[in-house]
Symmetry: C2
Subunit: 150 residues, 2 copies
């Protein structure tokens, strides 16, 4: 039940883009450095995000990437689905063409995995890049408040 680096790096990279909105195209190199990710590896991930319309690219020198939509329109679930595939604790309850099993209609185990799938999806779809930006702002102000009282 682990997320792979694809999903983790992807969310980090997207959040990085959100934090640098308005600064023009952001190069993978700078994202890779800030987030400590291999640039080449990140390239592969971002390729998928671009095809899904979650980022836009600008080629050439001074090029880079921009968010494909407003941050409040990009759910973490969208990012995870592009990079990790449909949410599916088991193949028989995959969000996308689940693997039909002959016992499916009376399989009690299956209903558990459905609930797990739905609870994961609900969390990931309730959080957007905008939410994350707000959280980051809040953490920042809490920190400075804390510093003040020391």
């Amino acid at each position: 039940m682990k997320l792979s680096t694809k999903g983790r790096y992807g969310v980090k990279a997207m959040f990085d883009l959100a934090q640098h909105m308005g600064e023009g195209p952001i190069s993978l190199k700078s994202i890779a450095e800030r987030q400590s990710i291999s640039e080449h590896y990140l390239e592969q991930l971002v390729s998928g995000l671009r095809k899904a319309g979650l980022v836009k690219s600008v080629r050439g020198a001074q090029g880079g990437y921009l968010l494909g939509k407003e941050p409040d329109k990009i759910k973490i679930g969208d990012i995870i689905r592009v990079l990790e595939g449909p949410i599916a604790p088991t193949d028989c309850v995959s969000e996308e063409d689940p693997e039909i099993c002959s016992k499916a209609e009376f399989c009690v185990t299956r209903t558990i995995w459905e609930k797990v799938r739905d609870s994961i999806a609900e969390v990931l779809d309730s959080i957007t890049l905008e939410t994350m930006l707000e959280d980051a702002k809040k953490i920042e102000s809490d920190r400075s408040l804390y510093m003040y009282y020391i």
Copy 2:
């Protein structure tokens, strides 16, 4: 974000044991046959469950396994944790000694994985083998009702 066969087979096997309570020790061979699982592989999984006290074993001919506690005392989360390890979409939010990262206190990404972890744990800990037995009974009666009206 997939469960491995360990978790899936383990839950299936435990549910099988629950369904055959009162019939004395149930052999791995019969469980493996009913659930279409390799017997040798199942042996390894059940070994862990036994060490965790979720099943009791009876050795020798006519031996087998019994539930280690009442079905309403065995949560699906208990089974999963024994077979798949602590619930942890990422190492930094593992239920058991999470891998501390220097940026943890102001990491916005981390809070997402915490929410995912908690929602998975909540689902898995809200379902017991007893719940599953009730569900199975309900499905069975719905099926016979359906048959009646045909």
